[in-house]
Amino acid sequence: MQVKLTIFRYDPENDKKPHFDKFTVEAEPTDRVLDLLEYIKDYKDGTLAYRRSCAHGVCGSDAMRINGVNRLACKVLVQDVGTTLKVEPILGLPVQRDLIVDMEPFFDHYKSVIPYFVGSEEMPQKEQLQSPEDRERFDDTTKCILCGACTTSCPSFWANGNYVGPAAIVNAHRFIFDSRDQAVVERLKILNDQFGVYRCHTIFNCTDACPREIQVTQAVGEVKKAIATARLD
């Protein structure tokens, strides 16, 4: 079958303004959108720039807007999105070239929420015990691959780049609800802030966009509740 792609192009060295390029490629229904981009880069226009690595949805390189929603190009098949495609960079981060955006602000927010385990520094003799239930409690948010699809789908983040964004909250949640961690309150203090959880208005685009099917809004909600009630449950 033939697939028509309209792709966002912007090269700061040559273009004043972004524009769209059209390509038509032959494809199988089970091809990934990433396969089409690869084909275009290989045979039609080598200057098309985007990120990719694993090609199966686990590294988080290729979040982009495909037909109006954030997706990983390697995790949508042609048969899922149809034969006319519009491919654009994710919103709310500066576009550096074509589909590549500057992820630094995103990672800065991530780094601001103590996204690491805080425990004792001693060299361990054995593992710290944790029951399967306690482990299960934060399983969902351990899956995050930092692709940025959630944060850049969030109207609150578009409006205000200071908002830490759902991805950062998801990663804080991963530690807040880990029974072994010892910096829970510090994280909650950081998120109990104007640019923390309160900029989330349950818009849910994040959950819809998450390629790892993390219940992002639920994670944000659980953090809000933990702050509101000073309880973890």
């Binding site: 912007y10 700061p12 807007r65 109006g68 919103l91 981060l93 550096q96 789908s153 349950t202 909600g221």
Partner: protein, 129 residues
């Protein structure tokens, strides 16, 4: 050199969000609608009462017009129902998994009530009220 991060209004609108995004937009619009209306109204009442000034009457005419009433009923009803949904979700974040169902339910409650209201209002207008 990179393109600005600003997301324009239309850019945002073009993002294909789901029902909850629509609900959020409507919640915002209705909330703002109500507060602006009420503020004006309070100020107007104040002036009417104090100095019987005329412009308050002008405002009263606006909000007594059927179109405005349609809007304000919509705003109150939608905002109340949607607000309730948000409060429930805040209390039980686990319900967020059933978000889709909740949104359906909300519209299921909203539509009959609002239709009935419109029906009554139209009836009144027809009856020459």
């Amino acid at each position: 050199m990179a393109l600005d991060r600003k997301v324009g209004f239309w850019e945002g609108v073009r993002y294909k969000g789901g029902g909850p995004m629509l609900a959020w937009a409507l919640h915002r619009i209705s909330g703002l609608g109500m507060i602006i209306f009420i503020s004006l109204h309070v100020v107007a009442s104040f002036f009417t009462q104090q100095m019987g000034s005329d412009w308050a009457i002008g405002i009263n005419i606006i909000y007594e017009s059927p179109y405005f009433q349609l809007f304000i009923v919509f705003a109150v009803l939608f905002h109340a129902l949607n607000g309730m949904r948000i409060i429930i979700l805040d209390l039980w974040p686990k319900m967020l998994r059933y978000q889709r169902e909740m949104t359906w339910l909300q519209w299921l409650i909203f539509i009959p009530i609002y239709s009935l209201t419109i029906f009554i209002m139209i009836q009144r207008v027809m009856a020459g009220g």
